[in-house]
């Protein structure tokens, strides 16, 4: 019962909730990206690879320019370019989205290590590069509120950006012309085309935005708290984002909650590392919980359908 005690102790710490937001940030940004491309009718499997390349480019550019913000721009530009390469494969050359996505992911995991080796002579991490980090922000007023201040203030600038982007993506689909076009193109491309919406361009734009958001996630990983690039550092977050995106079903706010669930599990795993459960098991938990959450979600949707069917059938 030691573990239970550990968990309860952890749950009472404000720092734990702070860490939850921190862990959720890259998944949240990627979830938003996945959501936009998915609503435009393309499922972006290459998120994992995009994030990895962006994380790498951010570190390299910031090290050479000695300016964290230029490094950030480099990471975002990398996300933009990679997603446009994917878009070119899928939309112009009519290749299969899943296969192209997996190809890019494989390329990213090998390619980043290869270039890292060319630049630094190392294959594991960019410790010899003097890369920079993006700043954290303290929120005036809020930081002085007990507990809440400790949870909400002092986060990384990209964590705040991610939360603002949740509102932005929600607004995009709810109110803007582009959002309406993305929905139309994803749901009925023929209808969109006959009213003069340039279907392929809208899909390009959606994939580009998804690349930019994923690029931000990559920048957060390598320029957030650690300040270096290490091989395979995305650790499957790009795939997790596909699951959280599916749970969200197009709703940015639900996407945020699903990402926070992942953040919750991951920071819990971090806190429990000192307990006597095997480390590998603990590290596995966030991923398993997201899979369980997604499966449960699907089962619930299915159950509700069945229930509705039975009720309607018995109704008369």
């Amino acid at each position: 019962m030691n573990v239970l005690q550990d968990i309860l102790n952890t749950l009472s710490l404000p720092e734990f909730y702070f860490a939850m937001f921190r862990s959720a940030t890259p998944v949240l940004l990627t979830t938003l990206g996945a959501m936009i491309s998915s609503r435009s009718g393309t499922s972006n499997i290459a998120l994992e690879g995009t994030m990895l390349i962006s994380a790498f480019v951010g570190v390299v550019v910031s090290a050479f320019s000695q300016n964290a913000w230029i490094g950030f721009l480099g990471a975002v530009a990398a996300g933009f370019i990679v997603s446009n390469i994917l878009a070119y494969f899928i939309l112009k050359l009519n290749s299969n989205a899943v296969i192209s996505g997996i190809a890019l992911n494989t390329f990213a995991s090998g390619g980043t290590i290869f270039v890292l080796y060319l630049i630094t002579g190392e294959k594991g991490a960019s410790t010899s590069l003097e890369s920079l980090k993006l700043p954290s922000l303290t929120l005036p007023v809020i930081k002085d509120i007990p507990v809440i201040g400790a949870v909400l203030s002092g986060h990384h600038v990209l964590t705040y950006a991610a939360l603002i982007l949740v509102a932005a993506v929600w607004y995009l689909f709810k109110h803007t012309r582009l959002g309406m076009h993305i929905r139309a193109v994803g749901e009925s491309p023929d209808a969109a085309e006959t009213v003069g919406i340039p279907v392929r361009r809208v899909k390009y734009i959606a994939l580009s935005i998804s690349g930019i958001l994923t690029g931000m996630a990559g920048a957060f990983l390598s320029m957030g708290y650690v300040g270096l690039f290490s091989a395979g550092m995305t650790a499957g977050r790009g795939y997790i984002a596909l699951a959280t995106q599916a749970i969200a079903a197009g709703n940015a706010v639900v996407g945020m909650l699903a990402s926070l669930l992942f953040g919750f599990c991951q920071s819990m795993a971090n806190y429990l590392q000192s307990s006597n459960i095997p480390l590998q098991f603990i590290q596995m938990m966030p991923y398993i919980i997201i899979i369980i959450a997604y499966t449960t979600y699907c089962a619930m949707v299915e159950y509700n359908k069945k229930k509705k069917q039975m009720l309607a059938a018995a109704g008369k």
Partner: protein
Amino acid sequence: MGQGIILEAKNITKVYPGGVVANHNVNLEIRKGEVHALVGENGAGKSTLMKMLFGMLTPTEGQIFVDGKEVHFSASGDAIAAGLGMIHQHFMQVPSMTVAENLILGAETGTALKVDRKKAEEITKELSEKYNLKVNAQEKVEDISLAMRQKLEILKALYRGAHILILDEPTAVLTPQETEELFEQLKLLRENGHTIIFISHKLNEVKALCNRMTILRDGKTMGTYDISDLDEKEISRLMVGRDVSLAIEKEEEEFGKTVFSVKDLVYADQFGKTRLDHVSFSIREGEILGIAGIDGNGQSELVEAIVGTLKPQSGAVFLKGTDISAYSVLKRQESGISHVSEDRMKYGTAPKLTLEDNTISKVYYTDKLKTRGLIDSKKVNQFTNKILEEFMVKYDNSKQAVSELSGGNVQKLVVGREFDYQPDLLIMNQPTRGIDVGAIEFIRKKIVEMRRQRKAVLLVSADLGEVLSLSDTILVMHEGRIVGYIDDVKNTSENDLGLYMLGVKEDSRERIGGACHE
């Protein structure tokens, strides 16, 4: 009415990649303010021509003029800008969006950052009143009827400033009453100065509505005529190239004992909508039972529940006195059910496989085609050729893919396969949808022949003329219920059926109970 030519297509030729010539030197002249019919069989090139006029395809050769000026459309947007509007047969709408949102989609009110939904709803109301096309602006498209979706489609074109409207087989999804209403609305549009191109193969409708018509056959224009100059027989001959008779000759026959029945079928779909509401009926030997109704009123679900691809929540299906409700699809087939499905390319065939593969798909596992336990290609070949020849399928060789055949020939293959199976119950779901007149004539005759062989036939069709001419008894479905039982088919008109289909008229439960025989 002005006599000026508003839209002209000159010597249009369209060759598809792959070498199919869909249009060959086609000429079309539309006068301002007229309702112009474009008639021709399926596959005559009507849709290809219209897609070129609307910028969805580019002609291989030839010119298009709007208001006397030559135009080159590279996308639908160009055609819309030139004042054309197209009402597609498959409505071009986004189901999850509202009527108003669909109306403005692509030409939104408000700014890029804030679409003005209120304004959109106001515009919808305004246009709807002006042209007497009643729609509900705030409802989602997925929740409205097909007739209302069609009105929305017309409003969409008008909102974009179209003064030339192209309607592609608009009455295919409507009841006779809704068709009449549509014609009134189209006449109103004509009075308002709009020009209308009406694509159809229903000649009575063309006669009732249009001023002039252009006839297409095999991708060529067979001339443009004033409607009053030709009678239906002459039009029909120009369309098909020979005299066709769709009149059905069938002898009076006594029905035998009950072969098939369903009892109290109830099915609600995943959205909680009741699709089958206590449906019961039976079919006797030598009887063709027709099911009429607007598409989407439970007919598809009924057929699926019978063939076994859908599991109803309650009710039972009986074949020759045995309850087959728990049987798998295959076991139901083997018990004696044949099924010509409503979508021949999706459910009826595997389009990329060969004619042989598709023809043997119901019997490949039986000993019939095997020699020493292995499938014998010689037997397969003989079996296929026998069926294809008997059912007059036009084909090059039995190893070509089904997708290379025309719609009529694919349907004849499917019908041949199902009829050869010698079933007790034959389900024909939309047997002649979208095929040429020659194939329609052939398939209808074959159905009557099955009746002569004392089979029970369930005929589901949106073509009321077909239901009335083939059926011995008719059931009408509305919102999943049987609302009408007609045993005196000879003295029933399409309008009579229409009243049931709209839900205006409903027979008493006792009378509908007459559809069940012991």
